[in-house]
């Protein structure tokens, strides 16, 4: 039985590590579902869970590249804080006077500004690491203190609130795309998945390589499309509370029809996270830059001797991390509707934990984007589940710490067994 299952997984060419992580996520969810008397695995809670995870998950994809190149970035929580603060001041105090309050260009300018600042600060740290050869641990530890202090200094300790309404759409439950558009995206996503599976197969056949049996391709396609539709169904199953709907109709001077319901659908922040995940996966697997990141992580000397500019590569990796931190800052501050100077505190540890739980090896050279995102979900499921059960905050931290160590230990055993140290 176990043997047959192993063969099946091999034929489908599914990563066993991925299965293990999905298994861990499901197990954690089930335990909390029972412990909370059936409130964990509800559309409402899963919707909230994805909202809470989006920011950390976006940063975790960048942290994969950082750790794969044998570096670390401890500054991202503080970087998120200062970029979030600068974006807050820009959209609340500066832009309304320039472009007019309520202008839709406010959120666009703010987000672009944030990404540029984030990439610049990240790139500067990368320059210190790559060209001046200061260890990344030290540069980003300094950055942790500097940028957090900077966030306080810029804001003088105040919280910028409320943020621009169009900007707030990017982070929270107010910014969702509704049921119809969600299904539309699900259909497009499913068609693209099938298209890529087919082109990959045709490409392999045209070079005379071995391919999976046809049934395995169908099974894989069915699993992926099923996953996309399942997640969409969950997002669409969470309905907007009738009180909110009534108020909306009342605002337009209308009476709400009897039995009227409306689903939230995908939040924009979750779509941003998905887009980041797809783009980062393409960068990691299909671009020269991504290939060089992994080559440098596997053997820096060999990368150098192959003519790669590893110093500039380091700058680019940290600039990318900074840009992703800014995107995460958009999501985090928009979700709260405010930018406080403590925004993003301790996020660096959550992000590093997510990447490591997701199978990124601190020795470098190994890591996946989907792993880091799943790692972020596992962490968040654990934290919010414990919150729902009523575990005290100090005990929560102790448990999360223990789980992190356990996860890395399990990973070491897994690698030893499969031989891909």
């Amino acid at each position: 039985m176990a043997n047959g299952l192993g063969k099946l997984i091999k034929t489908l060419q599914i990563d066993t590590r991925l299965l293990g992580m999905i298994g861990a996520f499901v197990a954690i969810s089930l335990v909390f579902h029972i412990a909370t008397g059936g409130t964990f695995l509800t559309p409402r809670n899963l919707f909230t869970l994805t909202l809470q995870t989006a920011s950390v998950a976006v940063m975790a994809t960048g942290m994969v590249f950082v750790i794969v190149t044998r570096n670390i970035d401890l500054s991202i929580g503080s970087l998120l804080g200062i970029v979030g603060m600068m974006m807050g001041i820009l959209q609340v105090q500066i832009l309304p006077e320039l472009v007019g309050f309520g202008s839709p260009s406010i959120w666009i300018i703010t987000v672009l500004f944030g990404i540029i600042v984030g990439a610049f600060i990240g790139g500067f740290q990368g320059w210190l690491i790559g060209y001046l050869a200061i260890p990344s641990f030290i540069v980003t530890l300094g950055g942790l203190l500097i940028w957090r202090g900077g966030a306080w200094w810029v804001s003088k300790g105040t919280t910028i609130s409320p943020l621009d309404p169009s900007f707030v759409m990017l982070g929270g439950p107010t910014g969702t795309i509704g049921a119809t558009a969600s299904w539309g995206l699900a259909i497009i996503g499913s068609l693209l998945t099938i298209y890529f599976l087919m082109t990959a197969r045709r490409n392999h056949l045209s070079h005379g390589f071995a391919v999976k049996p046809v049934w395995a391709e169908y099974a894989l396609g069915a699993i992926l499309v099923g996953g996309i539709c399942g997640i969409t169904a969950i997002m669409n199953a969470y309905l907007v509370p009738s009180r909110i709907l009534e108020r909306r109709f009342a605002a337009d001077g209308l009476e709400m029809p009897e039995g009227y319901t409306e689903a939230y659908g995908f939040p924009i922040s979750v779509l941003i996270m998905l887009a980041v995940a797809i783009v980062m996966t393409i960068i990691a697997k299909k671009t020269r830059f991504g290939r060089y990141v992994f080559a440098m992580g596997g053997n820096p000397e060999a990368a150098e001797l192959s003519g790669l500019n590893t110093r500039f590569l380091t700058v680019k990796v940290f600039a990318l991390m900074g840009a992703l931190t800014a995107i995460a800052g958009v999501i985090a501050s928009a979700r709260l509707g405010s930018a406080g100077s403590s925004l993003g505190e301790l996020d660096e540890l959550r992000v590093i934990a997510a990447a490591v739980i997701g199978g990124t090896a601190l020795a470098g050279g190994v890591g996946t984007i989907y792993g880091a995102i799943l790692g972020a979900f596992i962490m968040q499921a654990l934290v919010s589940g414990m919150g729902m059960v009523g575990v005290d905050a100090p005990l929560q931290n102790m448990i999360v710490g223990g789980v992190l160590i356990l996860a890395v230990w399990v990973d070491i055993i897994y690698r030893r067994k499969t031989g891909d140290s």
Binding site: H207, R291, G297, N299, L305, S306
Partner: protein, 249 residues
Amino acid sequence: MTTPLLEMRNISINFGGIKAVDDVSVHVMPGEVVGLLGHNGAGKSTLIKILAGAYQKDEGEIFVDGKQVEINNPRDARAHNIETIYQTLALSDNLDAASNLFLGRELVNRWGLVDDTKMESESRKIMARLNPNFQRFSEPVRSLSGGQRQSVAIARAVYFNARILIMDEPTAALGVHETAMVADLIKELKTQGLGIFLISHDTREMMDLCDRVSVMKNGALIGTERVEDVTEDDILSMIIMGKNPKQAA
């Protein structure tokens, strides 16, 4: 005399006041194998690393086909069709054979994305020539044997039309059968007109494979001799004594 394929003239390099290579001149003709011999620390590896672009010389000149060239980094060396197989193999253990073979020179499709299928296909073609038994294309090279890794390193040098090949201890990590395979390959490449610099500690092997040998000691060149003009003992005494018995006689 025809123009050497490659000539290094009066090369010197200092590391913190120590002359690791001191006024050394060597050259290689097309279809010739030149051996570099000497103790550890004699300066052989440093000399060829200058040629490969890994180190920058302090003094001296390098000529390819009689034209002076500047080699400041590994990319420059590659641009002059100088390929190197390092003692340490210089492979990224976490990547597969094709990714290593094309590292820094990936094949891309029309969208500029890395074309793994094409690269694997090309890798299969060259491997069929170099090491027909090699089949493990999609595994990280860390799981390969020393000989298989060596064939990846050699394939990388050969694939890109190398004209000058540097081999730093190519057989150090290999078994008897694989060593013979590398020797056959060197002979084949020679007939194709490549110029090869070979570094090895095995004097017997060098006598078999090389046309000329240059012996270094403490960063200086002791002498360069055609293998048919010297005995193995002559070479050993050059390595150990640092004197050329032929010149003394």
